[in-house]
């Protein structure tokens, strides 16, 4: 009989006969691995969410945001304080020669009533440049244009997902009315799917887009949260930043606005995730340490329960290292089963979270879960296994 197969079978046979004990013992590892994988999945999702925000943007895209977005390699506080830009800023920026596309951004969320059903939706209000800057293209119907903006037309372009949800299909949504917070809009176009959402990234396919002037219906102060800008590709990005800076300084102080390149934000995001990973490793170490001690404890009990069995095996010719292997395989199996269950639970958790947030499990976290749990099995199993291997054959066989 194959040696390796035989000892693995021996270990699993043990678990079959004491399922509850096996479960409780590996619970520490289950919880540890579950927590770590879940946090990693959320972290990865968040990171993807943020990077996808910038992915579709070309090299020549800049953001102008109120306050200091980045301070000393990290996100500044004032960016969350709710300062806003307005139409004067839009006009000023539109006069900057090195800007070839300008999209103000504001949004409104509310209940949308379609022909089939209703849903809670978000509308992004912007200029006719938004599709070009953000990398959207039209699938059915048309995008809104400058005329729609100047007429304050109550028209919307829908993401394909929300169109299908509210009206059955993209085609059926065209020219239909949709009422959002009691304002009636006409859907003039449906976008091509950008993917994202579901498995990762923001779900652009579930948003509406409309002229910013129309957005003022919901905002008497007529404000914008930020601008997305397309820089003239024939001018250096530094030059464009300079031009924007000069225009903005006419009204604001140095620290009341920021000009951000997507790559800068990504590097900050990456450094934040670096810190997050350290915290994760710390949490992981503590929970896995507790799990490992649980395994060590049960393995000592197992060794003393099986003293007689060790004696029998030694009498039949098992060497010390055979006994060592037998118990080591058992503790590794315990720990890996725990790791696999933790991973499975995390996968289920992520599956449900994905309805709200683009979390996902990557290959690294999977191999980490199984690699770490088998190491735990070895590290915490080796002392009990050594104790078993060191038993004197005659004393073990006399053991009652």
């Amino acid at each position: 009989m194959n040696y390796a197969l035989f000892i693995i079978k021996s270990a699993l046979e043990d678990f079959k006969r004491s399922k509850m004990q096996t479960f409780l013992t590996s619970l520490g590892i289950v919880i540890g691995v579950f927590a770590v994988i879940m946090l990693m999945a959320l972290g990865l999702g968040l990171k993807k969410y943020i990077s996808d925000q910038f992915d579709s943007l070309g090299k020549n895209t800049l953001f102008i945001a109120p306050g200091k977005v980045l301070q000393g390699g990290s996100f500044g506080v004032s960016s969350f304080l709710g300062n806003r830009f307005d139409i004067r800023d839009l006009n000023r920026l539109s006069r900057v020669r090195s800007i070839v596309g300008l999209a103000p951004m504001s949004s409104k969320s509310g209940e949308a009533k379609g022909s089939i059903k209703s849903d809670y939706v978000t509308i992004f209000f912007s200029s006719s440049d938004f599709a070009d800057i953000s990398g959207f293209s039209i699938d059915k119907g048309r995008l809104f244009d400058k005329a729609d903006v100047s007429k304050r037309a109550k028209v919307l372009v829908a993401g394909p997902k929300i169109a299908e949800k509210l009206f059955g299909s993209s085609v059926d949504a065209i020219d239909k009315k949709v009422s959002i917070d009691n304002v009636n809009f006409t859907i003039i176009g449906v976008l091509k799917s950008k993917g994202g959402g579901g498995f990762g990234g923001p779900d652009y396919d579930s948003y509406f887009f409309g002229p910013y002037t129309t957005g003022f219906l919901f905002d008497p102060q007529k404000q914008f949260t930020r601008f997305a800008v397309k820089a003239d590709p024939n001018v250096s990005i530094e030059q464009v930043k300079d031009d924007i800076n000069r225009a903005m300084l006419q009204r604001y102080k140095e620290d009341e606005f920021s000009i951000v390149e997507p790559s800068e934000i990504m590097s900050v995001v990456n450094s934040i995730f670096g810190i997050m990973n350290i915290v994760l490793v710390a949490i992981a170490s503590i929970s896995l340490l507790v799990g490992g001690i649980g395994i060590m404890n049960i393995m000592y009990v197992t060794v003393s329960d099986k003293t007689r069995e060790v004696g029998i095996r030694r009498a039949l010719g098992a060497r010390k290292k055979d006994i060592l292997m037998q118990f080591l395989v058992e503790s590794i199996a315990l720990s890996v089963i725990g790791g696999a269950v933790g991973l499975g639970l995390a996968a289920i958790g992520v599956f449900f979270v994905q309805n709200y947030f683009p979390a996902y499990i990557d290959l690294l976290s999977m191999s980490l879960a199984l690699g770490v749990s088998s190491s735990i099995g070895i590290i915490f199993g080796v002392l009990p296994a050594k104790k078993a291997a060191a038993l004197e054959p005659v004393e073990a066989i006399r053991y009652e």
Partner: protein
């Protein structure tokens, strides 16, 4: 070349335990004993006299405090733990009073267990041999049963099959009938006698019962850790 007359030889073997700082207890004292090839020896004596201790020494499960044990031409005092394990595996087959089958392994797996630990190239297929042995002992239909589903006599037969799977030179049985009724006990003894006579396997049986000891062609008596002349 001188013929080796014994397969295992104990010379002046003692086994003692330190009871406390002043007291040393001798389980065996100055025992010299030879077991020859193809012999059937009974080792008998009252409870606590040191029979099991003697058997554990012969079976290389234990080491003497003083004295030497020689197997073939090898002094066991110079062998390391792995060598002793290999010798137990290939040379000796154990049968115990409490059967000592492994409860979570099936009958077939129990019988095959010694082959799992074997490092020597077997000139037979262990699986096939196990099945042959099961057939011969009328236990084939029990091959996938677990030990706790078997009667005492069946369990002891499985233990004997496990002792036989490696084709050992020597079978050591420590009170093999101690947990069996008299009729089954005698069946087991006849089985061991058969193995000795037909298969030419050396058998040593430890027992405190005179009628069981009577199966031996030679009887070694132990009393208070010493051999007594019969």
């Amino acid at each position: 070349m001188p013929e080796i007359m014994f397969m295992i030889k104990l010379s002046n073997v003692s086994k003692s335990y330190q009871v406390d700082e002043e007291t040393t207890f001798f389980a065996l004292r100055q025992v010299s004993l030879e077991i020859k090839e193809k012999e059937f020896v009974s080792i008998t004596g009252p409870s606590g006299s040191g029979k099991s201790t003697l058997m554990h020494l012969i079976g290389l499960l234990d080491k003497p405090t003083t004295g030497e044990i020689i197997i073939g031409e090898k002094k066991i005092s110079v062998l390391n733990d792995d060598d002793l394990s290999s010798l137990r595996n290939e040379f000796v087959g154990f049968v115990f009073q409490q059967f000592n089958l492994i409860s979570k392994l099936s009958v077939l797996e129990n019988i095959l267990l010694p082959t799992v630990y074997s490092r020597k190239e077997l000139n037979y297929d262990p699986q096939k041999k196990a099945v042959d042995l099961l057939n011969k002992f009328g236990l084939f239909d029990k091959k996938n049963s677990f030990p706790n589903k078997l009667s005492g006599g069946q369990q002891q037969r499985v233990a004997i099959l496990r002792a036989l799977i490696m084709e050992p030179k020597l079978i050591l049985a420590d009170e093999p009938t101690g947990n069996l009724d008299s009729k089954t006990g005698h069946e087991i003894m006849r089985l061991l006698k058969d193995l000795n006579e037909k298969e030419k396997i050396t058998v040593a049986v430890v027992t405190h019962e005179a009628d069981i000891a009577a199966y031996g062609r030679r009887i070694v008596r132990v009393k208070d850790g010493k051999l007594v002349k019969s």
